[in-house]
């Protein structure tokens, strides 16, 4: 299955779940949403992007080309999901 078969909402949910578990100690207060500024608030940084890319490759079967890795494209879950689906 490739990401083309996944709806954008499913991708967002998977990304949020992964980010919560991996970078936010499970996010017990459910604070993370699709608009949370990930880079600006230090949820992900240039090192953790690598971990996130590996997850996207493995679980969402999508290889994000290096030219697409920018601060703007990784601003929040909504942006990343758009990158994965399109």
């Amino acid at each position: 299955m490739t990401a083309a078969h996944l709806s954008e909402q499913v991708v967002k949910d998977k990304l949020i779940e992964f980010i919560r578990e991996t970078f936010l100690s499970g996010d017990p207060d459910r604070e993370l949403d699709e608009g949370t500024p990930l880079l600006e608030w230090g949820v992900i940084d240039s090192m953790r992007i690598v971990v996130l890319l590996a997850f996207i490759r493995r679980e969402l079967s999508t290889d994000i080309p290096m030219t697409q890795i920018s601060g703007a494209n990784f601003r929040n879950v909504r942006k990343i999901a758009a990158l994965v689906v399109h």
């Binding site: 936010l24 996010d27 017990p28 949820v43 940084d45 290096m66």
Partner: protein, 495 residues
């Protein structure tokens, strides 16, 4: 001779050579010099004058480099602040150094008002400015300040390290000679401009009439990108924190292909480089491998060149012997100069040592680094660690006290302790937070709280909520216990 002479001379000698290749543009020395004059003319029209400070708050670009040169050409002092630094932190820097103008990039322009509060002159870079009335070339003296680099301060107030033209030139000129840099060289610039490693990349290239290639900050830990950057740009002199090199080796496939023949020096600084990484690099490339040491306050003051003997050691390479014309020695607990085999605090004096922090009393006598070292039989030094709460996270200086002071401002926080655990790439900053008993602030809201006030590398990686902080028998926070807990929590997760 003033620092900005380097670009002026290179522009006169070979105007058509590439000076800077950034994410925005690749510019020749002629173009860089003309752009610097255009920006200088614009700043002069805004009444920026000799001795004034100008904050340059921007992502790395050729334009940003031109702005720094423009400030120097007016005899003014630039204050480089990476574009990722939050407006509240920029505002704290503005309050401290009272600049005549704040420059920023178009991306940060909407946030310029809160960042530059109190400073009426503001400039968004990248615009079309009228042809300059220049050329501008203020003859700054060796003792005049050239730039101010802000570092973490233990009290929660950022500290500005004042670097003079003489300091910077002594450092750059010494290293250009040591590296025998040539116009054909291609320097990589990995560090942000507010981090002193970038000084060698930029001005080393300018002194040689060579080119410098800027790695955008958001890609500075994207391993495949870095590896490709090194190869595709034909980098001959690479300088970064060891973490970046480790990452390129582990995740970026750096060693999968033969080393590029043009690579002739790999420099690392900012934290101890694990010996396995040094061995891997030495097996891969014939380039010189150099471990540089020195806090921002002294520039690089010692260095060690890796030899076959270094590779047989079971610890990171020594920080070596004095460089840049400095004198370094260690002083033991009882105030004596440490002899071979003894430990002590490293002291530095010489031409690259800063005259003092901005707005604080000048430095008198040698600079005390706060770093513990051991004297080796050949008179060089091994780095042992810090004497205080300063820690390094991937080369960045972090005062734990500053992180704690910032989190303690959160209304729900009763007490907080920050610790670091893990090594190298996996080093992480954990905070332990006890709250007032009401609704505890979530992990994300604490990150946000810090993100709005401090540089990104000071945002905690992990937040632990605890009922109370553990204490030692004499009532101090038990940091050893907390560090052990942070360490085991991570190991648990990796398992």
């Amino acid at each position: 001779m003033s620092l900005h002479q380097l670009v002026l001379e290179a522009a006169a000698r070979h105007p058509e050579r590439v000076a800077v290749s950034g994410p925005d543009a690749t510019v020749t020395y002629r173009e860089l010099s003309q752009r610097a004059d255009a920006l200088a003319g614009h700043l002069a029209a805004q009444h920026v004058s000799v001795g004034d400070r100008v904050v340059v708050w921007a992502s790395k670009s050729a334009e940003c480099v031109a702005a720094m040169q423009a400030v120097l050409r007016l005899g003014a002092v630039y204050v480089p602040v990476d574009g990722s630094i939050p407006p509240a932190r920029v505002a704290a820097i503005v309050r401290d150094c009272l600049p005549a103008a704040v420059c920023t990039d178009p991306e940060n322009a909407p946030r310029l008002a809160p960042a530059a509060r109190g400073c009426p002159q503001r400039l968004v870079l990248g615009g079309d400015f009228a042809a300059p009335a220049g050329p501008f070339d203020h003859p700054s003296a060796a003792e005049d300040p050239a730039y101010i680099l802000y570092t973490s301060g233990s009290t929660g107030r950022p500290k500005g390290v004042r670097v003079t033209h003489g300091n910077a030139r002594a450092f750059v000129d010494w290293w250009v000679t040591e590296l025998a840099a040539l116009p054909e060289d291609r320097f990589a610039n990995h560090a942000p401009f507010g981090f002193d490693l970038s000084v060698l990349d930029l001005y080393g290239a300018f002194a040689a009439g060579a080119s410098v290639h800027l790695v955008p900050t958001e890609l500075s830990y994207a391993p495949e990108h870095l590896t490709r950057f090194l190869r595709e740009r034909g980098i001959s002199i690479w300088y970064s924190v060891p973490s970046a090199l480790s990452l390129m080796i582990r995740e970026g496939g750096l060693l999968d292909d033969h080393a590029p023949p043009c690579l002739r020096a790999v420099l690392f600084a900012g934290e101890p480089c694990p010996i396995p990484t040094v061995r891997e690099l030495a097996a891969w490339t014939g380039a010189r491998l150099l471990n540089l040491y020195g806090p921002t306050e002294t520039n690089v003051c010692t260095f060690h060149e890796v030899t076959t003997a270094t590779l047989e050691m079971d610890r990171p390479p020594p920080i070596g012997k004095a460089s840049s014309g400095n004198t370094v020695w260690a002083v033991t607990d009882n105030g004596q100069t440490a002899g071979v085999g003894e430990e002590g605090e490293l002291l530095v004096t010489g031409p690259t040592v800063m005259p003092g922090y901005w707005g604080r009393p000048p430095l008198t006598g040698p600079y005390r680094t706060g770093d513990l070292v051991r004297v080796l039989p050949d008179g060089s030094f091994d780095y042992l660690g810090r004497q205080d709460g300063l820690v390094k996270l991937r080369g960045h200086r972090v005062e734990l006290g500053e992180v704690e002071a910032t989190i303690a401002q959160h209304p729900e926080v009763l007490e907080v302790a920050a610790v670091v655990a893990g090594a190298g790439l996996l080093r992480h900053l954990d905070v332990f937070v006890a709250t007032r008993g009401g609704a505890a602030p979530g992990v994300l809201s604490l990150k946000r709280h810090v993100a709005e006030r401090l540089p990104r590398y000071m945002i905690p990686d992990v937040v632990h909520h605890v009922p109370a902080l553990p204490r030692t028998s004499n009532g101090k926070i038990d940091r050893t216990a907390l560090a052990a807990r942070a360490d085991s929590a991570t190991k648990e997760k990796l398992r």
